[in-house]
Amino acid sequence: MLPSTTLSSPHMHGANGLTRVMLSVIFALVPALAAYVFFFGWGILINIVLALVTALASEAIMLRLRGRPALPFLSDGSAAVTAILLGMAIPPLTPWWMIVLGAMFALVFAKHLYGGLGYNPFNPAMAGYVLLLISFPLEMSTWAAPSTEAAHSLSMLESIRYSLLGTLPNGIMLDAVSAATPLDTVRTQVLLDKSLTELASTGTIAGRGWEWVNGLCLLGGLWLVSRRTITWHIPVGLLAALLTLSSLFYLVDAGRYASPALHLFSGATMLGAFFIATDPVSAATTPMGRLVYGVGIGVLTFVIRTWGGYPDGIAFAVLLMNMAAPTIDYYTRPRVFGQSGR
């Protein structure tokens, strides 16, 4: 007789599994990651490695402290996904300890202190990111310049040295390797009361490099939707809301408001729409609820980007909507079979 681990029916199980879900997500991020490295140098990869090591170590320590089996939880891939998303959100030229701090906060405080996998009300990667953003606003808004227009592009070794020791090669200033992001530029221009039309936005539609990163995130995201790892509701809601609002304001005054193309293909929009907001644990779960949740993030992102104190707003928008998820779920329950519409 087989050891009877199945208490009752069904006795069959599909091929779906947590590790499979997480690996698909990581796989879908690879093209965008390649674009990041191509345009912004090795920094992102260093971020990810540092975040991965810290996240897995924190996960292992917390599992041990909480008396949970380490292997099934470490191998599920959820800590790795958190680490990769965090590493991609943090600017390429960031000191190592900030990344370690962010990853540790994400895993220990935002995940395990709430009960670990499946119990965290907030997206751990975004919690870690926001902690760094509000603690170290200067470092967190210094992005590497796109390789095509930087005065100097750092080699892998130089990047590692900067990350660990904070030293650049002789004769090179930080300004030479960093640049404001397109969203940052928009913000500054608006603050200086300058018209956006004279903004010499490089690239075709949303800033050199950024449009590629976002485009490849979109591609990876569509692949995830096509194989039903994620559903279409959250990305569609988010992008539709962002597109609608930005188009509306752009039509009213193109001089003061960024174009819809910039909103959709710059900053963390596509990464947020397909990879961050779709974190199932902290998102709404009913189909209608996911649409509402996505729209909410889209609206908040636009509001924060346009009138808020930070150039990008995805992280704050996600965390704010995380809080609303249970309520959204409660009010968007689908009609049950055999019941008249509620």
Binding site: L2, M12, N16, G118, F337
Partner: protein, 536 residues
């Protein structure tokens, strides 16, 4: 015919061809037959034979007791050896009262009363009675007495749906029955339609059974009937009663309702064939088709099995590979239950015995926490939110879980099949349902106790009130008496006073004497009542 779709469902690997390679053959007469008195939903049948008694094939062994009950018949001729508790096919290995029959091998029939084709002259209620006396229950799995489902009461039935979907993997007994006994099924459908006065009759069959569809169409043509044979898409659980009705009619059985509420009645194709045999040939339900399959048997196939045959005999007949690690599942892999002991018998509702190797039913990896991915909700054919149900079942929040319509769950297993965290979701719903039923029984008991207590209090108070009323009447009567007799009394009192005065012992309280007398009297009147109180 325009078909409708239902929400969710799964495309599952069918594994049906493995048990359909050979024609159905009789499993033969085993050494002993074990016949549980309860093989249906409702009251168990009541034995009308004694141990030692000889019975013939088709003879009644136990009568129906109560309305929701059906009789039990001898599957072959032989001797009743015992009426005692035996293990039956139940997940817990439960023991229930069974009639144990030792076949004599002669297999000689008792006298039957075939009706032939004249059933149309029969009144629907007489027809239902025939079906009841033949011991027919739903052969699709639930085992609800069929005659009740053929009694629409005041409702008018537009459609009789015959369920030939057989959506669960591995099971092929209905498919084989449809191939081999299509005429019986269509004829049975016509009898059922007559009993229900239904306008239409539709047989729904999944499109992965082309042979069955062809056989049914041919039979319907031969019989010149207008029974519609409809091909439905193969998607689990297309054969769920509510899902099949939705697919065929577009109507949804209301939550907490029955198909009859929307003018539909649904029966299994096997039940239809049994009805045909009962009415036309007078044969009771004593055998059925059973699929024996799985990678742990050498020759998976379908057999016609006498009710009461031990499952071990079937496994032996199909060559159980004892050396292959396996588990025995009664029913299909999605909704069946694991059997601990195989000496339990085949009953009227046993459609499949699955000897599942690791290939058929892989050992589940340990469950992980729910990540709220919503795959379960996407797969749920009842449009529920399985993960919320799981959450509330875990929290034992039984009010909230009913708020999320737990009782609309049909336990099809789709949610647990797709769950990436490998959570045995259905197990949690069964647990919650059982707990809620237990609580309701407790509450019912508590309600009864409270009612009894309140009635007791009410009775005590009523008796007290009655007693006081009696006392009051008595006092009034006395008072009346004292007013009418006032002059007499006055005379007596005067006389007493005179006597006392004579004795020179005049006392101031002398006029109270009458009152004292009255209270003594009422004290006596109280006595029997007090006695009554003591009794109560």
């Amino acid at each position: 015919m325009r078909l409708h779709s239902f929400h969710g469902g799964l495309h599952l690997p069918g594994h049906k061809e493995m048990s359909m390679r050979e024609p159905v053959r009789p499993a033969g007469i085993p050494q002993t037959l074990i016949l549980p008195l309860q093989q249906h939903i409702g009251e168990p049948a009541e034995p009308c034979v004694k141990p030692g008694q000889r019975v013939r094939k088709g003879e009644v062994l136990a009568h129906a007791s109560g309305y929701v009950s059906v009789p039990l018949h001898a599957p072959t001729s032989g001797r009743v050896v015992a009426i005692e508790p035996r293990s039956v096919a139940h997940p817990s290995g439960l023991q229930t009262a069974c009639i144990v029959l030792e076949p004599d091998g002669a297999d000689s029939w008792t006298e039957l009363t075939p009706r032939g084709g004249d059933y149309e002259q029969l009144d629907p209620s007489a027809l239902r009675n025939l079906i009841r006396e033949a011991g027919i229950v739903g052969l699709g799995g639930a085992g609800f007495p069929s005659f009740i489902k053929l009694n629409p009461g005041s409702a008018s039935i537009t459609t009789l749906v015959l369920n030939g979907a057989e959506c669960e993997p591995y099971i092929t007994c209905d498919a084989m029955l449809m191939c081999e006994r299509a005429v019986e099924i269509v004829s049975g459908a016509l009898i059922m339609r007559h009993a229900l006065h239904a306008e239409h009759c539709v047989i729904g069959v999944e499109d992965n059974k082309p042979a069955a569809l062809a056989a049914l169409r041919q039979a319907a043509g031969e019989l010149g009937s207008d029974v519609e044979i409809v091909e439905v898409p193969t998607i689990y659980p297309a054969g769920g009663e509510k899902q099949l009705i939705k697919t065929l009619t577009g109507k949804e059985v209301p939550s907490n309702g029955l198909p009859v509420d929307i003018g539909v009645v649904c029966h299994n194709v096997g039940t239809a064939a049994a009805v045909y045999r009962a009415v036309v040939h007078g044969q009771p339900l004593i055998a059925r088709y059973v699929t024996v399959t799985g990678h742990a048997v050498a020759n998976p196939r379908n057999m016609e099995v006498l009710i009461g045959t031990p499952i071990a005999d079937l496994l032996h007949a199909c060559g159980l590979r004892a050396h292959v690690p396996h588990k025995i599942i009664v029913g299909g892999p999605m909704m069946g239950f694991e059997l601990r002991a195989t000496h339990t018998p085949v009953v009227k509702t046993t459609n499949c015995v699955l000897a599942a190797s690791e290939e058929d039913a892989a050992t589940r990896s340990p469950p992980m926490p729910c990540i709220r991915c919503g795959e379960c909700a996407a797969a749920c054919p009842a449009q529920l939110l399985p993960q919320q149900l799981y959450w509330h079942a875990q929290a034992k929040d039984f009010d909230r879980i009913q708020d999320y319509n737990l009782f609309d769950c049909i336990e099809c297993g789709c949610c647990a099949y797709v769950c990436p965290s490998n959570i045995a979701l259905v197990h949690y719903y069964r647990y919650a349902k059982t707990e809620i039923w237990a609580q309701e029984r407790e509450k019912h008991k508590a309600d009864l106790a409270r009612e009894r207590h309140e009635f007791h209090k009410f009775r005590l108070e009523r008796e007290k009130a009655e007693r006081e009323e009696r006392h009051r009447k008595k006092r009034e009567a006395l008072a009346n008496k004292s007013t009418t007799d006032a002059s007499k009394k006055a005379a007596i009192e005067a006389a007493l006073a005179r006597v006392k005065a004579k004795r020179g012992e005049a006392r101031p309280d002398v006029t109270d004497g009458g009152t004292q007398e009255r209270s003594a009297e009422s004290g006596r009147a109280d006595a029997p009542l007090d006695h009554e109180d003591a009794k109560s």
